[in-house]
């Protein structure tokens, strides 16, 4: 897998088991229980949604569940805050366009 820190002078990272999930239908690997946003970022995916009016690309901003900049469609459910939502095997993750389906 791509962009994970391997050697760090202070930290050791404990990761969950490897799982497969889908981004826009494309299969990607991630670690179970890590936030979906972290798995996407490590896979090089920066655009998480498109804004409602102008369709501008959006990524996360705060990564701690406060700003709602990272809302995506997960398993058909809209407005999922992917910086907080833990990754599970087989999840279908899609970019949200404008307001999410409720």
């Amino acid at each position: 897998m791509s962009d994970y820190i391997v050697d760090h002078p202070i930290l050791k990272f404990e990761r969950g088991k490897k799982v497969k999930f889908f981004f826009e239908g494309r299969e990607i690997e991630g670690y179970e229980d890590q936030p979906i946003a972290a798995a996407l970022h490590a896979a090089g995916i920066r655009v998480l949604s498109y804004s409602e009016k102008l369709g501008r690309p959006r990524g996360f901003f705060c990564a701690v569940g406060k700003c709602s900049s990272c809302l995506m469609e997960v398993d058909g459910r809209g407005n999922v805050m992917v910086c907080m939502e833990p990754l599970r095997e087989g999840m279908q993750v899609r970019r949200q366009k404008g307001r999410g389906k409720v």
């Binding site: 962009d3 890590q34 920066r46 959006r58």
Partner: protein, 367 residues
């Protein structure tokens, strides 16, 4: 709505399991209260869990200990004391009869306690500039979370906006994670954070551009460069001084705003005091808000730092207990000791703003 906890189960409910909330909970449990902590993260510790740097101050306040280790110590103490903890739970409202609505596992439940200590902390401020919404413009704390908590390489080359302690520490941690830092940009004529942090990052060869600000992010669907410019004495951009710096992440480290939402909902008085971080809940020296059953502490009460947040937490926890169990010497001793230590810390010139802000709050009482 299902009632998860009632007043019979819980004396004090602490919202937020960061340094302030944890200290409040620990003190209250030590003083004999039945305590519940509600936190929206999977683990306790708040933002300490991403702070790999060592703390300053006195030994009693974990001087020389890394934030990540302080989080472990405090969480361990809380568990040892038998404090109930609801993780992955978000308090979404404060309802009539002093009931909290708590969202957990897609289910809304009710929690009622005799006293509340609210320690929700703060959120990172955003800055307006061209293409500020481009993916890759991240809060400095967000970058810190991605790399230090989840071990994700946040980018290849970074530009940081703001040179307060967060704006100095996070770039250093980026270097530790193997990320290049192209620049730190500061609009004032001096570095905002501690000199030691600035010296450390400068020794690593990272330039700090004083009297500069960001005017634009460039890139198609992600950040490819930051455009910075010199500013004049009135902080407006000086035309013709723009400089384009290639980067794939831009860190915004310009400050934090207290997360007061729950207190607005509860009808607590909120005052605008810029020195304390903007809209902050009114609180007296016992950390009690305008509602006698609600106490506050930490960044929610004023944007400061973890060590002072912990001391405020101790005061809030002890005084909440006192209001429940009656005046006791033990409660007094804990709160007085913490208040004294706070006073000592706040004698530092870096704390002058906070002291002046807290004074404004006192003046408000007289009026």
């Amino acid at each position: 709505m299902k009632h998860l906890f009632s007043q019979n189960d819980i004396d004090i409910c602490v919202v937020g399991g960061g340094p302030a909330g944890l200290e409040a909970a620990i003190v209250a449990a030590e003083l004999g209260a039945k305590v519940l902590i509600i936190d929206d993260n999977p683990v306790l510790g708040g933002q300490l869990i991403k702070q790999t740097h060592k703390f300053f101050g006195s030994k009693a306040h974990y001087c020389g200990v890394r934030g990540i280790d302080i989080a472990r110590v405090l969480a361990g103490k809380a568990i040892e004391l038998g404090i109930s903890v609801m993780n992955n739970a978000t308090v979404v409202g404060y309802y009539d009869d002093d009931i909290l609505g708590v969202l957990h596992d897609d289910t809304l439940s009710a929690v009622k306690a005799k006293r509340y200590v609210i320690a929700t902390g703060a959120s990172e401020n955003m800055l307006a500039f061209d293409n500020a919404d481009l993916p890759g413009v991240y809060g400095a704390g967000a970058v810190q979370t991605m790399m230090n908590v989840f071990g994700v390489v946040p980018g290849k080359r970074a530009v940081a906006i703001g040179s307060g302690n967060i704006g100095l520490i996070v770039p250093y941690q980026l270097l530790q994670a193997g990320v290049e830092v192209a620049a730190i940009v500061e609009i004032m004529d001096r570095v905002g954070g501690y000199y030691v942090h600035a010296a450390k990052i400068k020794r690593c060869g990272v330039p700090i551009y004083l009297k500069h600000t960001i005017v634009a992010a460039q890139g198609k669907d992600r950040v490819e460069a930051a455009v910075i410019s010199k500013v004049g004495p009135d902080y407006s951009c000086l035309l013709g001084t723009e400089m384009t710096i290639a980067c794939d992440i831009i860190l915004i480290a310009i400050g934090l705003s207290p997360l007061c939402d729950l207190l607005y909902h509860a009808g607590c008085r909120i005052d605008y005091i810029p020195e304390l971080g903007g809209n902050v809940p009114y609180h007296d020296e016992n950390m009690m808000t305008s509602r006698p059953n609600i106490y506050v502490c930490g960044d929610l009460a004023c944007i400061e730092e973890a060590s002072t947040a912990m001391l405020e937490g101790r005061i809030a926890g002890a005084r909440a207990c006192e209001s429940l169990f009656g005046k006791g010497s033990e409660e007094d001793a804990v709160a007085d000791e913490a208040a004294h230590e706070l006073e000592v810390i706040r004698q530092s010139p870096f704390e002058a703003r906070i002291v002046s802000g807290k004074k404004q709050r006192e003046r408000d009482i007289i009026r």
